[in-house]
């Protein structure tokens, strides 16, 4: 049962007892941007998998590489300057990165689909929403114009847009923000994808609409059994909808596990810092505890653990061999219960300290 050391360092073993193989597997994916100012290493060998019906959240702050990693999965990375420098993306067991452009294109839509943060700029302003949804059927299934439009109306109805039959001929700018995001979702779900990637689907929306959209996504997921890969920096959203979470920092996965375990007992100081920075009702009037410092410049990632300059638990002097935070890169290794992993030399100590602090 013990995986080889390379696999161990890259792939956290699957925690979910869900039946069947994962629908999407990402192995050791690396992405860099080659700019005139130098190479920016946006994603440095991340691995994860998404099972049917499962919701996996990739959590990280701006510039942590979360969006770039899914754009690479979708094959829509702007290249140049972006290049996938290593790894595999397996969709239903087939490697997409090695596939031809035409094969990749055929997967986008019916296989993996994506919704974006800002629906206003992500929808084409000069075509009606009905046309843009119908385009999915016309491009992938060669459906007739009339049937595709009927299907678009059905979809608008399914994402609960009132008066779908009239609204199908409206343009994106004639919708409110929440309704526009529903249009995006309808478009992404048109061909019943196996995996839906949602890149910050609610960031541009106000709080009540955010909740409606997340609820809609959950309902649709329950109906279709699709895997949902949610990219977000919103801890609340992760807590509410995700089964598993990957915490990203500076292009690396620093911690992974079920949302309950990771959020209640972090085993990485960065996750710990994130949890401490959430305002809680009982802390009213107290100062929030931010993570000091700023995320690193991805063209100059610190040596050793990329988080060490900001880490309150870093060990530099008198560190055991191979565990100096400034020199030795921590691998993503198992910790605690099965399926959990953390990329910290002192993950066990972090976890134990937390567990000891929590009342039993």
């Amino acid at each position: 049962m013990i995986p080889t050391s390379t696999a161990l360092s890259q792939t956290p073993s699957s925690p979910a007892p869900l039946p069947g193989a994962p629908v999407l597997e990402v192995e050791d994916l690396s992405v860099e941007f080659r700019t005139p100012k130098g190479v920016v290493r946006a994603v440095n060998g991340i691995s994860y998998e998404v099972n049917p019906g499962e919701t996996v959240a990739i959590l990280g702050e701006s510039g942590s590489g979360k969006s770039v990693s899914v754009q690479a999965v979708m094959g829509i990375l702007d290249s140049p300057p972006g290049f996938v420098t290593g790894g595999r993306v397996l969709f239903e067991g087939r490697d997409l990165l090695g596939a031809s452009a035409e094969e990749q294109r055929a997967v986008r839509g019916p296989g993996i689909s994506m919704i974006f943060q800002d629906a206003l700029s992500s929808l084409n302003p000069v075509f009606t929403v009905g046309h843009q949804i119908a385009e999915m059927f016309r491009a992938h299934q060669g459906t007739s114009r009339k049937e595709a439009k009927e299907a678009a109306i059905e979809l608008l109805d399914r994402v609960r847009i009132p008066a779908a039959r009239e609204r199908v001929n409206a343009y994106p700018h004639q919708f409110s923000g929440g309704m526009r995001q529903r249009v995006m979702i309808a478009m992404a779900l048109a061909l019943n994808p196996k995996v839906l990637i949602a890149d910050e689907p609610t960031t541009a929306l106000d709080v009540t609409v955010q909740a409606q959209i997340m609820e809609l996504l959950k309902d649709l997921q329950r109906d279709t059994g699709m895997g949902l890969l949610l990219i977000t920096h919103d801890l609340g959203v992760v807590n509410e909808v995700a089964d598993r979470v990957l915490v990203m920092y500076a292009g690396n996965v620093v911690e992974t596990g079920t949302v309950d375990e990771v959020f209640s007992d972090p085993s990485h100081p960065y996750t710990e810092g994130l949890m401490a920075s959430v305002p809680a009702v009982e802390d009213k009037g107290k100062r929030l505890q931010p993570i000091v410092g700023t995320p690193p410049d991805l063209s100059r990632i610190p040596p050793g653990c990329s988080f060490h300059p900001r880490c309150p638990r870093r060990v530099l002097e008198g560190a055991p061999p191979g565990k100096n935070c400034q020199d030795d890169i921590p691998l993503l290794l198992p910790v605690g219960t099965a399926g959990r992993a953390s990329a910290c030399h002192y993950r066990k100590e972090v976890l134990r300290a937390r567990s000891a602090g929590t009342p039993a």
Partner: protein
């Protein structure tokens, strides 16, 4: 939309009145005596001179001359030139020639300019992109009359594949002058298309189109191009009016009997009625094509509504 068009058309009336008055005043202010210039070396008798002056109202003050001209216009009388030809006849005979030349120019402008701009925009930084940049810079920096004479010399005399002057060869004789007339705008269209396309390729909705699994030809040809063409169409449309006015130089170089050539001759002879009539017509075309552009604009971009 209908109300908007009606309002815009009504607005052209004061513009035309103002423009024609300005042109009228400028011709009036030209130095020299048109009657004496007309006579040339053979002095006319004072009696004949006086009769001509009276016939063309040349002794009236400016405002009265203009008032009499407009009064004529209202009765659809565009006046006559000094040899007694109706200005309306001149326009009727020469407008098709200028229109053909402008049409040839617009076709060149749109086809070559758009094609060059699209290819350069898709492959930014490529050899072709740099070629377009250098060529367009060169064209923009050379005055059109230089370009006209060089083209005439090269392709009319040294390599005689095009006629050097006149319109005796039908459509074929419009090709070279049309290309010269189009050259400057063609360069602008290529540049504008390139920039606009490159900018739109970075838009989020283009990323969405790719995420939808659409063919690259659809992503560019449909989702990117439609948005990129909005500023280009604006430019080409407004340019049609400018091309007709710009035809003065080209028509003179290639000896094409169009409206531009007529204005040139009329200015030399100080024939006020001809100059004012034709130039006011140019102004009208300019306004008209701008209106067409504004209407096209609303058709291309659903976010624009004139209500």
């Amino acid at each position: 939309m209908g109300r908007y068009v009606a309002r815009r058309l009504l607005l052209t009336i004061p513009v035309l009145i103002g423009a024609s008055f300005l042109i009228f005043a400028m011709v009036y202010a030209l130095p020299g005596d048109p009657i004496r210039a007309l006579a040339g070396d053979r002095p006319l008798s004072p009696a004949v001179q006086a009769a001509l002056r009276d016939e063309y109202n040349l002794d009236d003050p400016l405002w009265l001359q203009y008032a009499k001209y407009v009064w004529g216009l209202l009765q659809l009388d565009f006046g006559t030139d000094f040899s007694g030809r109706e200005v309306w006849d001149i326009i009727e005979r020469r407008l098709p020639v200028t229109a053909k030349l402008a049409l040839a120019a617009v076709i060149f402008e749109a086809l070559i300019g758009l094609a060059a701009g699209i290819l350069a925009g898709i492959r930014r930084g490529s050899f072709f992109d740099n070629l377009v940049l250098v060529t367009t810079t060169l064209i923009v920096s050379i005055p059109v009359f230089v370009l006209g004479f060089v083209a005439q010399y090269l392709f009319g005399l040294r390599i005689p594949i095009f006629p050097t002057s006149g319109i005796r060869d039908g459509w074929y004789s419009y090709l070279l002058p049309g290309l010269v007339l189009a050259s400057l705008s063609l360069a602008y269209v290529a540049r504008l298309t390139r920039t606009s396309l490159a900018e739109n390729l970075r838009q989020d909705y283009v990323r969405t189109a790719r995420a939808k699994g659409l063919k690259p030809s659809v992503v560019i040809g449909k989702h990117t191009l439609r948005n990129s063409l909005i500023p280009v169409v604006t430019f080409i449309g407004a340019d049609i009016g400018a091309l007709m006015g710009g035809a003065i130089v080209t028509e003179t170089i290639f000896n094409i009997p169009g409206l531009g050539r007529a204005v040139y001759d009329a200015v030399l002879r100080q024939e006020g009625a001809v100059v004012v009539g034709i130039v006011t017509l140019f102004v009208f075309f300019y306004i008209f094509f701008n209106l067409v552009v504004d209407i096209l604009y609303a058709l291309l971009d659903p976010r624009i509504r004139y209500d």
